[in-house]
Symmetry: C2
Subunit: 289 residues, 2 copies
């Protein structure tokens, strides 16, 4: 799937919503637990109910891995169901992998060959050769962690530049030092274009989006953290939307766990529709639909 | 397992070797492929042959994950075999995970509860709340990526401090700015002590070990990259060994793929013994045995 396909789908569905399948077996409705594969059944019903309102699904691999081989079977069945039911949606393995070359190659095989995901989230810490094996799949995408929405983002991604700040106190202003997430945005553009790379940008840092866009005006950004993590969709659109939308906004718990009763799928559909309608307004305001 | 147990085992076996179970199904001897679970059979024979010479095993999760549910079964059986046959060895899941809190919690469950690993490798990019769920298991270890042995380490871990360097050209020397891997070593000490945290330090940067030791004199370091990745064991011991050894040196391909014939286990045992004997000399030189 390329950028044009993605934008077409956004225009068609009037949505840039991604539904996060963080399908924790301890949180899914109890009546499903007597079925053979409760997590797959949960995902299937969530997909059926939300599909009109979303352009993307993002299973969070930890919730499958925590159930061992059984979890992998649920994941495999979910991606197969998606590919059959809705081959046009953009599937992201939220795996945050990244290792030396021969190891990343194996992770790429797992998610791109065995499971046919369109994209995988990758951690940048180990640099170019940890990311490039994923880029060898020309029609697939890397979604690189840049600025995440959690508290720990302060530790390294936004870590203070002590020296530059010390100079700042003497009125000397440095424009040459960069925060780590800025370095990631800059450096990684040497590895791939906006046709193969996207970035994770935490929604709770919406004002930072202006800065992000100064580095990556044309890239798609995967924005988690709208909803349960507290980000604002309006702000994200205001600072982050570009002429091809350039945004995929994820919501997980706010949609999939909207109800824990037998009406869970219906309620998930309603929540997804609410977000889609907000998104439609924002796309219209920007003149994209 | 605590530091004292680990040091006792090092003294007993006169070794600080970790065998990396990067058990790629495409590289294991062909005669195993007709068995029900070739990868588990391979691991079992490698473990039997190398156990006298090693204190630790480190399955690289990518090589299991790339085989889906089947791979997870091989992994599960391998860790169960290790726990039964050699409960004293230190088992590391080389997974390089790290995500927001509720997700890291699921990864911790996968590797610490379901599979009973003693340790897991974790990527630091997302900061404190991506690491702390692993630290809630008090008898378990986090092995945090600090300075890796691959080319991409230059991209961020060792990225140049442009501003400090620009000042350097005017004769102004900064002692306040730190490289990213140094920040990781410093910051992460606020999260856990040397009884629960170790660091990945790439062997091919042996001279950097002096600097590493100035930050973390007492921590254990997991050193990959001896052998196939080209590091020198002598240098690692010279710059990295402390009064409790403080080193776990990994070799993967150099041991497990020493032969691809029916003698693969025997040859792996020989390679492990060679390294153990080198390590015995180094431990003796330091007066630790």
């Amino acid at each position: 799937m390329n950028k044009v396909d993605l934008f077409e789908q956004i225009q068609k569905k009037k949505s840039f919503l991604c539904v996060g399948l963080d399908s924790d077996i301890n949180k899914i409705p109890k009546h499903l637990l007597e079925l053979d594969d409760p997590v797959f059944e949960f995902n299937k019903q969530i997909i059926d109910a939300t599909l009109p309102y979303t352009i993307s699904y993002k299973p969070n691999i930890a919730f499958y891995e925590s159930r061992g081989a059984e979890g992998w079977i649920s994941l495999q069945k979910t991606i197969e169901y998606l590919k059959e039911k809705a081959p046009e949606v953009f599937t992201i393995a939220d795996a945050k992998r990244g290792d030396i070359g021969n190891t990343s190659k194996m992770y790429a095989k797992a998610f791109f060959e065995n499971m046919h995901f369109d994209a995988i989230t990758v951690a940048p810490y180990m640099g170019v050769d940890s990311v490039s094996p994923f880029l060898e799949y020309k029609s697939k995408w890397v979604v690189l962690l840049a600025l995440t929405s959690n508290k720990g983002a302060e530790d390294f991604q936004l870590a203070k530049r002590e020296f530059a700040e010390a100079l700042g106190r003497f009125g000397i202003r440095s424009t040459r030092t960069k925060l780590l997430y800025e370095k990631v945005l800059l450096k990684s553009q040497e590895w791939a274009t906006d046709e193969q790379m996207m970035y994770v940008i935490g929604a709770t840092k919406a004002t930072a989006l202006t800065k992000v866009r100064s580095y990556v005006p044309n890239h798609f950004l995967l924005v988690p953290g709208v909803g349960a993590q507290g980000g604002s969709l309006q702000e994200v659109a205001q600072y982050g939307m570009n002429s091809q939308c350039g945004l995929i906004v994820n919501s997980s718990r706010g949609i999939i766990f909207a109800s824990d009763g037998t009406d869970f799928a219906e309620k998930a559909g309603e929540k997804a529709k609410e977000l889609q309608m907000e998104m439609e307004v924002l796309l219209r305001k920007k003149g994209l639909i």
